[in-house]
Subunit: 298 residues, 4 copies
């Protein structure tokens, strides 16, 4: 079990008379990620709404700000109880066993054009034994050939671009790995979050993006960027790719400051709470999800 | 009200020992589209599962076929009770009023890269008064500049390609219109179906693809390809773009024959059942949907 | 006739032990552009070579610099004697009359993918009467829909990107116009230069890029970016697109400062030397060129 | 020395009233490729022009055909005297030694976007020792990862597409290899031709495309498609990529039949004329070329 205490501080100058924001900065609430305490502070006196996704537990804060400065500060602490598994037993699932809810994570999406990556994925990974270790090989391949380089990509950069540019930031690593997995019919999705233990040489603490891959019926964590132990990820949003889970979606004209994030790990050895570390076991932090489909009687 | 009776006949030669199929050929069940009668026949003696999406009512047939010929025949009749509205009163919704479920239809998707279409959409449509008639102008713009040309596009063709190629089939028209709407923050989604009354010069009856745009809180039908009256569409699937709603997704090696479709309209004037026609009112056939989000107490 | 006196000052910090440079900063020598005086100064004591293209008169300075600072200063004055023509008499040439040397300017190139722009070019301009005014319409179309925005494009930006981005700098305007002309089988090429009279709101004097289109057997000047009168352009290089005529091609690792350019127009009314102005006549500054082909006896 | 006798038969149905054609089906005349005999037959009674490129010796046939059938038949025999070299002595040239005429073969072109391939080329080949064997490694890499598949590519397919599709025909293999060489500042160009000894499993004799790479001051032959011994290539055209050297460029509306080609090798052992074979030595068939540049006195 890990406990992480963190704060996220966002600051904007709103240029329009009013401007709509949708934030995804509150940690998701699932049966594996429990919020221990939290507070939210918004510098303008305004009404806001908070929504939670029924199945994935992601939380969305919607508000309409007025012209002038806007500051949003979230502080919280979460406890994450990872499911761990021996990688050797984790299987890629035949399509006939996949839950229908996982299918949208096999299909191509804006930044993960798996339909175009089939030939490449088969050339590089087609001959390997399916399972956790093939997915790990994909992660390693992406990590090895891609340089982590701030500013090398932007909001329209996709997996195909990253493949050719050989450079990107965490979301680009994630998109390329997701695209390759889907090209092999392996469900893969995008997790946004903040994380503990990032390599400080890669700059100050920032939002992070990971990959989840479905193996043997459960979503397992992978981080192709390799900048931090997956165990230290606090889940904010879950989606097909970065199009779904921006930490802030802004409908209007603003000047943004760089987000300021802080995170620390709490340790309580007596109660089984440890520092996040790199781990040889497969890790899953996804909670139980409610299916959007029901089976009809034959 | 319209009543449509139709059949869909699919034929494959399965080359692998087994092959997984997911079909989306049964009409969706919603409170605006009621199935009056139906039958399904599968030429191989095998088990299959049928699933229904809780919210949109789309139905998915999953089966694993064996090597050799496979024929799937669906026959059914549906009654569709369209909501009609005066176009002049239909407004584009401010983001602050959008249901959160609609947001994924504002974000870019595989074939509708609205993030790249912002400059174009603003150049062409930015100065127009928001509302139904702006959306209609987008539909007309797509229709006028795109040539309907069988074989001019393929499974990787996206809205950007269609923009440049000036040619495509119904799904390409739909992708381009959806991309442009989203670029203006107007929720737009993809509907697959079969339809009555298509221009026979465009070839035999085939699957069709339409657009739905959210205006004043409801999804309205648009057909940028212009080949058939939207009133005659039978809804099969609803999604972000064609990646989500193929009529058949095949995981394995097969030879496919062209689908064979037949459709006829039933008329019962006494009971208010008429032929599908082009109509000057705005039409909606989307049923009530269950939100995937719930609002949390402030 | 115009006379322009100008200086170009380039400064680099060479990081490698040695670094090869090819500069194209000396004005081309043609029978329409005469060099009146010039000087070249290179801050490192090194040998260099100057080459001239036999046909187009472009000059190339090649040198190998050592680690440390490198400054190259060119100062010169040229006299340009434009050919002027009544636009109404200028015809697009049938392919059967085109010189073979012009064909490479009909074919697609790196940044001007005219093969992909055929449908668009025909949709927008196909119905217009061929001739100078159709080319002018293309220039206006590019100018109107593209925003001049420093930093909006880069070294891999092509005509297709500019078409979609609706923004760029002078080279992007030129690429899009060239691509559209070629898509209609009109020979069009890229001219790099410096120019007099640029709109100062677009920033300090910088290198510029123009378009030349062959009409009635001669290359005429067009500036789709509209920032300066074409009459004030000093030709440096001529090529298919920006790939051919960079002002500096650097093979090695350097830090570059922004180029510093100055230009002034000399007036000598008695001798027919005037200020460069916008002119309603078609202007050509291309010299006589030597064909690379010779006709064989039938 | 090899001697090859061949015929090329092209057939069209011209749909427009007149239609311009430019053919590049006559073998180039260079000091290494000598035409021994030839004949040309054109089914319509019309005037035509033949041009030869001064430097590369490529020949271009221009004619304007009338509506109706058009058949063009070329028959000829050539003798090719290859320069052979020990691969181990062939060096990549420093930029400071490159002839300026070679620079346009270092720059990116329509189908060989070397500017986008720099990161990839450095990742895959950057650590290898420069020279013939590095170029051979590039050839092998392209050959191994690309499937020869008729119909898998088209007239807009570029090196970037082939990189991702892992499939193509000879011109696509050539474009990818050229793009990678240029990305490493190695001059590389495109040769079109017909060739003797192609693997018959790849279909009937067809036009072929090869690569030439400049090493130690001379252009050497490489065939990344691997379908035939480079020694058996008859050079038709030489250019930056396929945009420059189509065997037929058609300006108008026609229906084309598949070209019909025949080729046989003549052997005359006494006079040193042998069958074309795969050879371990580096082969060059490029003639002496006239520079388009002249050096100016310092």
């Amino acid at each position: 079990m890990v406990r992480l205490k963190f704060s996220i501080q966002l600051a904007y100058q709103v240029l329009d008379r009013t401007c709509d924001f949708i934030f995804n900065i509150q940690p998701a609430c699932t049966d594996r990620q429990r919020v221990l305490a939290e507070s939210l502070s918004i510098s303008q006196p305004l009404a806001f709404q908070t929504f939670m996704h029924d199945s994935e537990g992601g939380r969305y804060l919607r508000l309409q700000a007025h012209a002038g400065p806007l500051e949003v500060i979230y502080q919280g602490a979460v406890e994450i109880d990872h499911h761990m598994e021996d990688p050797a037993v984790l299987r890629e699932m035949p399509v006939s066993d996949l839950p229908l809810d996982a299918l949208c994570y096999v299909y191509p999406s804006r930044y993960c054009q798996s339909d175009k990556l089939r030939a490449l994925a088969n050339y590089e990974f087609g001959a390997m034994t399916p399972g956790y270790y093939r997915v790990l090989a994909i992660q390693e391949w992406v990590n090895r050939r891609t340089r982590f380089l701030s500013g090398s990509s932007g909001s329209t950069t996709s997996a195909l671009d990253t493949l050719i540019d050989h450079a990107g930031v965490c979301r680009d690593f994630a998109h390329l790995m997701i695209g390759l997995c889907r090209a092999l019919n392996i469900p893969a999705r995008f997790v946004s979050g903040i994380d503990y233990g990032a390599d400080p040489s890669l700059g100050a603490t920032d939002f992070h993006a990971y990959v989840e891959v479905m193996l043997s019926g459960r979503w397992y964590l992978f981080d192709p960027s390799g900048v931090a132990p997956p165990m230290g990820l606090v889940r904010l949003g879950t989606g097909r790719d970065a199009a779904d889970v921006a930490f802030a979606t802004v409908f209007g004209s603003v000047v943004s400051e760089s987000p300021r994030l802080e995170i620390e790990a709490l340790v309580d050895v007596e109660n089984g709470v440890y520092l996040p570390v790199y781990h040889h076991q497969a890790l899953s932090s996804a909670g139980l999800e409610v299916s959007a489909f029901r089976e009809l009687a034959g």
